[in-house]
């Protein structure tokens, strides 16, 4: 469990995190989204006690992280895979961590296997690819068998196998009842991986809801259909005030669910070969959310249906 309450961090004149509150619950993968510079990494550093908040607090299992006696066994975190001494071997790096937590050497070998580092573990980190550094960082995060995991952009640099492996691992960690917080700019990945989303922009909370809610909350329902009479169907839909566009042999309808579209088709007697509720591209939803938020800060705030927190 991670709780962030009224967290604010100011660097000089820049407000990196602005009165941010949210909770990350166990048993779920929580995605932490926001454009570059939104304050995701800063928030993670504040949660880990690396930076001191200007105000507010961040608690891990009810305690400030910096007061944990045995942090490696409670929280595994990977903030930036590049931040490792290049002259140490991967194994030596993990052994330093193991000594810090009082863990036996064989635990190091276990996480080396788990992260698929294999033979690279004996080589100096200097020669690692970014993907291997990510795997090393994930190995270190899992070393102490922690109940809370925090990953900042862990997918960066991983190859396709690595991404698939990581996706499965995150799912498994959450299913085991652990708290998993993950930031990523690969939003399509989030759509497949995250159960909940915490979306921030300019250090402020924009949305905190399930992934489905965030997606559905954007621009209302949507449907896709295929028909042998596309022109007539387009005309009928438009006549009913719906926005419909042809994409190849498909028609995309905005503002109506598949159910509503089927009623229209039935009324006008147009056969349908395919009809489905359209899923929102998370990327699109997210851009809409953050752009609205960022562009109209001084103007009236749009009421985001998925935002339980009141805008100030």
């Amino acid at each position: 469990m991670i709780e962030v309450r009224g967290l604010t961090k100011r660097y000089g004149n820049a407000l990196a995190v602005d009165d941010l509150s949210f909770a990350v619950e166990p048993g779920k993968v929580t995605g932490f989204l926001g454009p570059n510079g939104a304050g995701k990494s800063t928030t993670m550093r504040l949660v880990l006690g690396l930076d001191r908040p200007t105000s507010g607090e961040a608690l891990v299992d009810g305690q400030p992280f910096a007061s944990l006696r045995d942090p490696l066994r409670r929280v595994g975190a990977l903030l930036d895979a590049g931040l490792v001494h290049p002259g140490r071997s991967g194994r030596a790096h993990l052994q330093v961590a193991a000594r810090t937590a009082g863990l036996p050497r064989r635990r190091v070998d276990e996480v080396i296997d788990l992260a698929g580092l294999g033979g690279a573990a004996g080589r100096r980190v200097k020669g690692y690819s970014l993907g291997m550094r990510q795997r090393l960082g994930i190995a270190a995060a899992l070393l102490g068998n922690p109940s809370v995991l925090i990953f900042d952009e862990p997918i960066n640099g991983l190859d396709l196998d690595g991404v698939r492996w990581l996706r499965g691992l995150l799912r498994q960690l959450a299913d085991e009842g652990r708290t998993v917080l993950l930031s990523s700019h690969l939003l399509a990945e989030m759509q497949q991986t995250a159960d909940r989303l915490v979306v921030i922009g300019r250090g402020r909370l924009i949305a905190d809801a399930t992934t489905d809610e965030v997606l559905q909350g954007m621009g209302g329902p949507r449907a896709r259909l295929r028909t042998p009479e596309p022109d007539r169907m387009l005309a009928e839909l438009t006549r009913r005030g719906l926005t419909a566009r042809a994409h190849g042999d498909e028609i995309e309808v905005e503002g109506a669910s598949a159910e509503q579209v089927s009623v229209v088709a039935h009324e006008v007697g147009v056969p349908l070969h395919h009809l489905s509720d359209g899923t929102h591209d998370l990327e699109q939803a997210y851009l809409e959310l953050t752009e609205r938020h960022v562009d109209h800060r001084s103007g009236p705030q749009p009421s985001a249906p998925t935002t339980p927190k009141e805008e100030r």
Binding site: R45, L50, S67, R73, V75, G87, V96, T100, L169
Partner: protein, 268 residues
């Protein structure tokens, strides 16, 4: 798409948790950090070459007519002068490399209690450089004694005095180096500062010779080092003053480094 099976994260058995305090573990981790990078070994090799090499040179060039019966320990103190810089570089690197590589972020994730980290790193580094300096000082004198055989002697009492002084000089200046590493968070900046304070500034001020410059010089750590190791330094320096000045810089350096570590964000 095939679903790749994910290996289970092996659980830790409860009996894997050894009885040991956070401090002991952090000391063990700092010890591992120190010896798992090559630079440590390079600095050590440089210090060994300087001390033992100088011992051999001094011993083999000792004139039996002039030096008959002298203690070989003098060479321990003299060789510690150049060797200390390799060991101070080792100390600075052990502390500040974490900032250069960004590793401090992980270090503080693993040991978020900054007081524990500061104490462990300081103890590991200062004890290492001090013990190494004493061992190398002994080997330096031994090399001189053997090379000059049978001209020089190795009297025990004098050895304890000399090696004790070497130990104090290295402990105090390593503490200063550790403090500067934490304070400046840069290997280069901390190294330059150490060299200025211990070598360049005292020499320059004494050479310039203005009375106020000599006064300033006598409060710099390098004057204490020069007096204790070589019997040099500013005029009017006493043994007590040399110990006090060097000790104060060691303590002061540590205090300044601690304040920066305790107050500031981890990696800014």
């Amino acid at each position: 798409m095939t679903t790749e099976s994910v290996q289970a994260v092996p659980r830790l058995a409860a009996d894997d948790v050894p009885v040991g305090s956070v401090s002991t573990r952090t000391l063990a981790a700092e010890w591992a950090r120190l010896w798992t990078v090559r630079s440590t070994w390079w600095f050590l090799a440089a210090a060994a070459v300087a001390t033992i090499g100088l011992g051999l040179v001094a011993g083999s060039s000792a004139d039996p007519a002039e030096s008959q019966g002298d203690a070989a320990w003098a060479v321990s103190a003299i060789s510690a002068m150049p060797a200390q810089f390799a060991l101070l570089a080792l100390a600075v690197t052990a502390v500040a490399a974490d900032y250069a590589t960004g590793g401090i972020v992980l270090t503080l994730q693993w040991t978020p209690r900054r007081g524990v980290l500061f104490a462990a790193r300081t103890i590991v580094v200062v004890v290492t450089t001090t013990v190494v300096a004493v061992v190398l000082g002994f080997l330096s004198a031994l090399a001189g004694y053997l090379a000059a055989s049978p001209t020089l002697r190795l009297p025990v009492g004098e050895g304890v005095d000399t090696l004790g002084t070497v130990a104090f000089v290295l402990a105090a200046s390593s503490a200063l180096a550790v403090g500067l590493g934490f304070l400046l968070r840069s290997v280069a900046a901390a190294l330059v500062t150490v060299f200025l304070l211990i070598l360049v500034l005292p020499l320059f001020l004494l050479a310039a010779g203005q009375p106020w410059m000599v006064d300033v010089a006598s409060f710099l750590p390098g004057s204490g080092t020069a007096f204790l190791l070589l019997g040099g330094g500013p005029p009017g320096m006493s043994t007590e003053a040399a110990f006090a000045v060097l000790g104060a810089w060691g303590v002061g350096g540590l205090a300044a480094g601690w304040v920066r570590l305790a107050r500031d964000d981890a990696a800014r």
